[in-house]
Symmetry: C2
Subunit: 596 residues, 2 copies
């Protein structure tokens, strides 16, 4: 490779209608991910999975030595090629994460009740004359005939040209008595709802007049490049010069890409997105808002802001109608953030009757125990293992991912997404696999693989269980699952202790979240992740946080309710507790906690 | 000169504590002016006046061929040297426009009544603990113990570090129930008031607690580089690609330099400027706010916004406390802007009794006729001649400027600012000179110089009157004064016609503005600029706009009053009127309009 600095280049992802800037030396995959382009990459760009296939329709590239084009005449792995010039890039249909199933499946075509905080009023503004040269804004206000308190500068800048282009016919977009923007009278009122997770972000485009969901898309959180868990990212923000700003720009780029792609999918215009609501855990919330995280990264783990915030879209850097305000959903405390509040909001009808537990399993797992009108909330750093992250053959829930593992006639059988040849394991597959290995005796209660078993092989110096000819689960993978399981179970147990309850007192065990939607409850009970309650007490509700944040965007009552719920939650800190350490150690075993 | 592009360089104006970026090929003078550095340059950088002297304390420069260093061993003309590298620049004391006399003289050490809209409350916030890890903002709000509706994101970003650095002691800066910022408890509350004129900008730093004026500075409006009058600049904004943005950034750079220099002068910090008010004519207002000016540049000359505006400092680009809001004073209509409203506010006690006329003479001259509770307002494009602009020997009101010209014993005598050798003419000197030439018969009523007179010489192919050995007034200069005089007098006459009044009905003829403060009323009457009223009816009140905008910043009552006054003014458009054209032609003669 040349030692000379290359001029900056651009990549034109023609199918997506997106042009992004590349950094010299970066692979096409890296540029795509950094800019939130929805390219699949099961191995994270290590060159091992062959899922990030692209074709270079124009421009010069350099090949990585191992990219021999054997994947097809012109299809190349995006992670193995580096642009030398501007390139036009075509993403293979199977490599384009059009709608990531895990984050956005659920209520397709849903239509929620609407009481949005933005309304539009169409007015006909008479032209100015020499006899009445009243200013544009003032003539508009006279025609509007309702009190106007403030007008956003960005709105005022639009008005003169709109008035003259449309002969005085203009749509006024109002939040209360503030004018946030103007448009032609035929433009829609769109809203953007985002569930911003540590690992994945799901975004939804809503029609604020009908309440209809127009589109939903998920991407990997681009901050993953700086660490899988919130603590790594907080450390990066604290230690690296401008580290916080790097992380802020990464997720902002991702959100802007989501907004672009959502609009592109339905033929809408980003300027028509006039309201937005975003929920995330406290760390994601702070990193997006550019709030300092020093104090969040060490005991007593204090948020800069817990309450709901309204931030100007332009100030936040979100490329939608610049006069829009982004509602950042209220957080609870510690790392229990707005995404848990929205999950509570979306599941309220399920937990309002009798003792209930709401659990959102993710890289950070949030748990609320609701009993006698009190909500005790905790978070547990469970890591990405249960989502297939940091697992040797782990991958996201995409075609070819093993999502089911079962023991049939004493033998392990697998099922993949799309019934394609197995290329890796997604989260539900990981959990099933550990439970199945336990069932077949390939792994013992302490989590040790049995070298004696025919399907336990040696793999890079450690034992590994072979699930299919190409997919294994290693001893380290199993340890990672044990740590995740112990973290979640311990938090559950301690909340029950705090309330003076036993697991059996839980009438409704609500499992929210993309991962939780697909897990096999029996597998969860088998390894001790979940308490052994009767199956009918479990409810897997999918991405409740996504539903909750959509409801907040559409309904002022739900927005107020989310603030009330956040205030009602009592945050229980576990990080410094000796009790946690002790219980955690005993929960590492692959047994149900109560029987250990 | 080298053909290779130069790397970007910086100029460090060491005495001012300011470092600015230079553009390759630009002279030191150009870089200074573009960045609002207060360097004197009477000839506007043409290399003729020698008033922009600097010394290069470090760095490489290229000399213009005519810069031979004859002005002193190491002092060079800033307009004749071009940096090749980063340079440290020392401005000669006489070339540093420390406080431009014209804009800021007046109420030195004034202390106005205070009822500011920003207040500060000191609170002691208890630290967070594991038992109570409530967020920083929420603990602060609890300690504040008064309702808080919103908190600016930029404020929230400051709080965690401030709390930990000062053991929980923090000053909360509030506008109503909005928190706009935090500071250490010992920080002052400062305000910035700006009178933004077409030619000059005057800025004042105020203490919002005591009402005391801490400092005042004036600079030339950096937009002058794109044309002396508002129409030239509007045309640039309309025609040049990104022309409006160029003009916006030019004045913004000037205002930020003013804020910097004001703070530097009193040892304050720009972050302590937590409120601001700016008044200007409608074009200056629009160009600063980035509002479109297409519709303002052609009949019927419609403002995008006439009413008062509140714009976030960060959104405007003003480098003060980012949570501050800048109050843009309400405009009247046409080009009659907030600077006239503030002049009316400041002079209200003078005109509230009896028929009055308030006139602010400038590049655009605004006039209000107040009679029987009605305010009729007009603006007149008088051009810069009466301020010494576009006059062959014109210069700003600085040392060596001829400010007085009189006829003593039939001979012309001159007086300069600072009693220094005459180097040019400032505005009051120009007016006096024309009146004196008329008095001595060197010029006739039609404005023609008499070639027969000994002191009328030939100068570059046209006649010119010699005032001192080096300073002349040319035939073209006299024509420019005639046009300015005719524009102003015609507007006055037409307003009187509209109200059905004669000039003699005016009880109070109030002349506001920097220029108006220094003119000789008798000279004004002699050439017909002013009607021939008894001298005691004239009041020269100095920079009333500056006083008015300071009062608006300090007092919510005055802010409300300015909005009322703007609404009460009835804008009278003259631009398209045939009456104006006719009267204008007859007013060109150097006679009092009534006797012509």
């Amino acid at each position: 490779m040349s030692e000379h600095p290359r001029p900056p280049h651009h990549l034109d992802f023609v199918d997506l209608g997106r042009k992004v800037g590349g950094i010299a030396g970066e692979t096409v995959f890296q540029s795509a991910r950094r800019n939130g382009v929805r390219i699949v990459g099961a191995c994270g760009g290590r060159g091992t999975c062959g899922t990030c296939m692209v074709r270079i329709a124009g421009g010069g590239i350099e090949h990585h030595p191992d990219e021999d084009g054997s994947h097809g005449r012109s299809w190349l792995r995006a992670c193995r090629i580096t642009p030398r010039t501007d390139c036009a890039v075509e993403i293979a249909p199977r490599s384009l994460a059009a709608v990531v199933r895990a984050e956005t499946e659920g209520e397709h075509g849903e239509c929620l009740a609407v009481d949005a905080r933005i309304v539009a009023v169409d007015v006909q503004v008479p032209p100015a004359t020499l006899a009445d040269p009243t200013g544009d804004t003032e003539r508009m206000a006279r025609a509007l005939d309702r009190p106007v308190d403030t007008i956003e500068l960005t709105a005022a800048r639009q008005l003169p040209e709109l008035l003259r282009r449309h002969d005085g016919a203009v749509r006024v977009r109002l939040r209360g008595d503030s004018i946030i923007g103007f448009s032609a009278v035929n433009r829609p009122l769109l809203g953007l709802a985002v569930d911003l997770g540590t690992t994945n972000a799901a975004a939804f485009l809503l029609d604020l007049e009908s309440g209809r969901r127009l589109a939903g898309i998920g991407i990997e959180n681009p901050q993953v490049a700086w660490g899988a868990d919130v603590i790594s990212r907080i450390n990066h923000a604290i230690r690296a010069p401008a580290g916080g700003e790097e992380l802020r720009l990464a997720i902002l780029g991702g959100l802007n890409a989501l907004a672009h792609d959502l609009c592109h999918a339905v033929g809408a215009d980003r300027a028509d997105i006039i309201d937005a609501a975003i929920c995330g855990n406290t760390a994601m919330h702070h990193l997006l808002a550019g709030l300092p995280v020093h104090q969040l990264g060490r005991a007593p783990f204090v948020a800069a802001v817990s309450g709901a915030m309204e931030v100007g879209a332009a100030e936040l850097g979100l490329d939608i109608c610049p006069g829009a305000r982004v509602h950042l959903v209220a957080n609870v405390g510690g790392f229990v953030g707005g995404d848990h509040v929205t999950a509570l909001l979306a599941t309220e009808s399920r937990w309002s009757d009798g003792t209930s537990l709401v659990m959102d399993i993710g890289t950070n797992t949030e748990i609320s125990l609701i009993h006698d009108g009190v909500i005790l909330s905790a978070s547990s750093p469970s890591g990405p293992a249960l989502e297939g992250g940091h697992i040797s053959c782990g991958m996201r829930a995409a075609e070819g991912a093993i999502e089911r593992v079962a023991v049939v006639d004493g033998r392990i059988v697998t099922g993949t997404i799309g019934d394609k040849p197995a290329i890796g394991l997604c989260g539900s597959g990981v959990l099933d696999a550990v439970a199945s290995l336990l069932g077949t005796g390939m792994v013992d209660r302490r989590g040790r693989l049995s070298a004696a078993h025919a399907d336990v092989i040696s793999n890079d110096g450690q034992l590994a269980a072979r699930l299919t000819p190409g997919v294994v689960l290693t001893q380290e993978d199993i340890r990672a699952v044990q740590l995740a399981k112990a973290a979640i179970r311990t938090a559950t147990d301690l909340l029950l202790d705090r309330a003076g309850l036993a697991a059996d007192d839980i009438r409704h065990f609500i499992i929210a979240g993309a991962f939780g939607q697909y897990i096999d409850i029996a597998s969860g009970i088998a390894i001790g992740l979940l308490p052994a309650l009767p199956p009918e007490r479990f409810e897997q509700v999918g991405n409740a946080a996504g539903l909750g944040v959509r409801r907040i965007l559409l309904s002022r009552a739900d927005m107020r309710r989310s603030v009330e719920l956040a205030a009602r939650c009592q945050y229980v800190d576990m990080s410094g507790s000796k009790e946690f350490q002790k219980k955690f150690m005993s929960n590492i075993a692959l047994t149900n906690g109560e029987t250990s």
